[in-house]
């Protein structure tokens, strides 16, 4: 943003003067660094880092063999597979439909568009427990959607399919809100140029528009996936929670805690945490990659 354009001439002169008086000492004349930084670090340490560090302290009490046993028991591995698979499926569904939704919201005009656009954030704003009981009621065998599906022989509630649906609900805004600003910022002149050079609309979309969207698309997919891996509230009601069948990893952690198996719960939590950190680090890389791509254009 060019700040000097938003002010009158006097301010511009003033800003120019400041720049000349204070070359390269960015922020050094501003007060409050020590206070702001001190409070930031203290608060971060007290509220986040110190509590999180107990995770490592507690898993260390298990020893390597105990740790391995806790994180590789058949019931635990079954929960990883379910959580990972359902999260991946939900992120893929959102990848496809999120792209369609974003395209339609950005490119087309129809009545109710702004309402739909605002509603995309609904899963962010709705408490997960409310989402959980609502989806369960909708897809239960006697529910609005569950009953007709049941007649077709499709069971949703209390099956992995229900878990996937809940995770799809939770993940939708991540894909749409990551793609939307990128698609909005694309210059239509590029598409017109491609068209005037003889490309068909399909070729233009596939060769010109999509490559610009891909980094944001993958980022949105990964964000939805990462969120789904740790999700609890929206899933726990619809899942049925049968060990080995429909028990997700976050629920297993709670079950272990309720049985006072703190070390076991911690070990599983450490694995979950590691998986989401690896994901988030890759997302950070992706975002800087897409930022570079954006600035190169």
């Amino acid at each position: 943003m060019n700040t000097s354009q938003q002010h009158g001439p006097e301010t511009s002169v003033m800003l120019g003067l400041v720049k000349r008086v204070l070359p390269h000492h960015r922020g050094s004349v501003l007060p409050g660094f020590r206070l702001a930084m001190g409070f930031t670090l203290l608060y971060l340490a007290l509220v986040i880092l110190f509590p999180l560090s107990t995770l490592f302290w507690k898993s260390a009490t298990l020893g390597p063999a105990g740790f391995w046993q806790a994180v590789s028991a058949p019931r635990v591995v079954a929960s990883y597979k379910l959580t990972f698979g359902a999260s991946l499926a939900a992120a893929a569904i959102n990848g496809v439909f999120g792209l369609v939704v974003t395209w339609v919201l950005v490119r087309y005009r129809f009545p109710g568009r702004r309402l739909m656009d605002a509603l995309v954030d609904f899963p962010f704003a709705l408490p997960t427990a409310v989402a959980g009981i609502t989806l369960t009621t909708l897809y239960a065998p006697n529910g609005w959607l569950g009953a007709p599906l049941e007649r077709l022989g499709i069971k949703v509630a209390f099956t992995p399919l229900g878990i996937t649906l809940a995770l799809t609900f939770i993940g939708l805004p991540f894909v749409v809100r990551t793609l939307q600003p990128v698609l909005e910022s694309l210059d239509p002149e590029v598409e017109e140029a491609a068209f005037s050079l003889g490309a068909s609309r399909l070729q233009t979309v596939v060769r010109v528009v999509m490559p610009a969207l891909v980094p944001a698309w993958i980022t949105g997919f990964a964000l939805a996936f990462a969120r789904a891996l740790g999700e609890y509230g929206s899933v726990v009601f619809i899942a049925g929670n049968m060990p080995m069948k429909t028990e997700i990893t976050p629920l297993l952690i709670i079950t272990k805690l309720e049985q006072y198996d703190y070390a076991g719960a911690t070990a599983i939590a450490a694995v979950t945490l590691l998986a989401s950190f690896v994901l988030l680090l890759s997302i950070n890389r992706l975002q800087s990659w897409s930022a570079r791509l954006g600035s190169a254009e």
């Binding site: 400041v18 050094s28 004349v29 501003l30 702001a36 509590p51 339609v104 609309r201 509230g233 939590a269």
Partner: protein, 284 residues
């Protein structure tokens, strides 16, 4: 020609729009309608009854109390962190920004669990807390701590990019002209970030009032004592008292709608202000 260049054929446009609307209708509109339909299933009297019940009222009070503590603290932190990160250069800045985002990568269940590991009976500080007569988990302080943890990044994460893009020149000019630190913040910085600040507070509040997983772990589910609204919904639902569960849930759904409305209003105001500023600079 330009429409043919940037638009799909009408039939495809219609198909895509119908697909998107069907998907949004199925996944967003239908659940929204279902919450209120289920809440009113037995009529308005039963609905009001479920909300007037003493347990529901005490859950509402606790939810408001938790948010009233967590939101201002995280607002203060967000302002301090954004000021330090956006207005000054120091080594390790990127690492600090990553650390601030950390709670977003932690499952709500784990966010609650760490406080049990810390203050529970077998916890790191459990014996110390017990010796001092402090009950920090399965109690209100535990709920507040877990809520602080999960809502930690919301304000900071809105403010940091906003204050970074505003730069430091205006604040430096104010400093050179003799303004005090507080004056600089109130007169120069705050007007630039007020909409982002409000937006961050709205998101932080929505999450603070609606958090379920983390508070579920630390609450101990003591009725009338450590029950927030989302936990009360769970209890009612698990007792097969569906209508009452949805009545309380409808309050939270209403809060979500208010959040969306406020968010849209903030975005609209910010866009209008940007447009009028651009207009003003053209007149100059």
């Amino acid at each position: 020609m330009s429409t043919r260049a940037t638009r799909e054929p009408a039939a495809l446009r219609l198909t895509l729009t119908a697909t998107a609307l069907l998907f949004l209708g199925l996944f967003l509109v239908l659940p929204l309608v279902a919450v209120f339909a289920q809440a009113l299933e037995k009529g308005w009297a039963a609905y009001a009854e479920a909300l007037r019940e003493p347990m529901a009222l005490s859950a509402l009070r606790l939810t408001l109390l938790t948010a009233a503590i967590a939101v201002p603290l995280n607002l203060l932190f967000g302002l301090a962190a954004a000021w330090a990160i956006a207005k000054f250069d120091f080594p390790g800045k990127n690492a600090l920004v990553t650390l601030i985002d950390l709670p977003f990568g932690v499952s709500p269940v784990i966010s609650g669990m760490v406080f049990i590991l810390l203050f529970g009976r077998q916890g790191l500080l459990g014996p110390w807390a017990e010796a001092h007569g402090l009950k920090l988990v399965f109690s209100v302080p535990g709920l507040v701590l877990a809520t602080l943890f999960v809502t930690f990044p919301f304000v900071a994460r809105e403010l940091i990019p906003l204050m970074q893009s505003a730069g430091t020149e205006e604040e430096e000019a104010a400093r050179v002209l003799g303004a005090s630190g507080f004056q600089i913040f109130r007169r120069v910085t705050l007007p630039n970030i007020k909409w982002g600040l409000l937006y961050g507070v709205i998101l932080c509040n929505a999450r603070a009032m609606g958090e379920f997983g983390a508070v579920s772990v630390v609450s101990g589910h003591i009725r009338g004592k450590t029950n927030t609204l989302p936990l009360h919904v769970e209890i009612l639902y698990n007792e097969y008292n569906f209508q009452a569960a949805f009545a309380v849930a409808s309050l939270l759904a209403f809060l979500a709608l208010v959040t969306l409305l406020a968010k849209s209003a903030v975005e609209w105001r910010a866009a209008a202000e940007r447009a009028s500023e651009a207009e003003a600079s053209r007149v100059d």
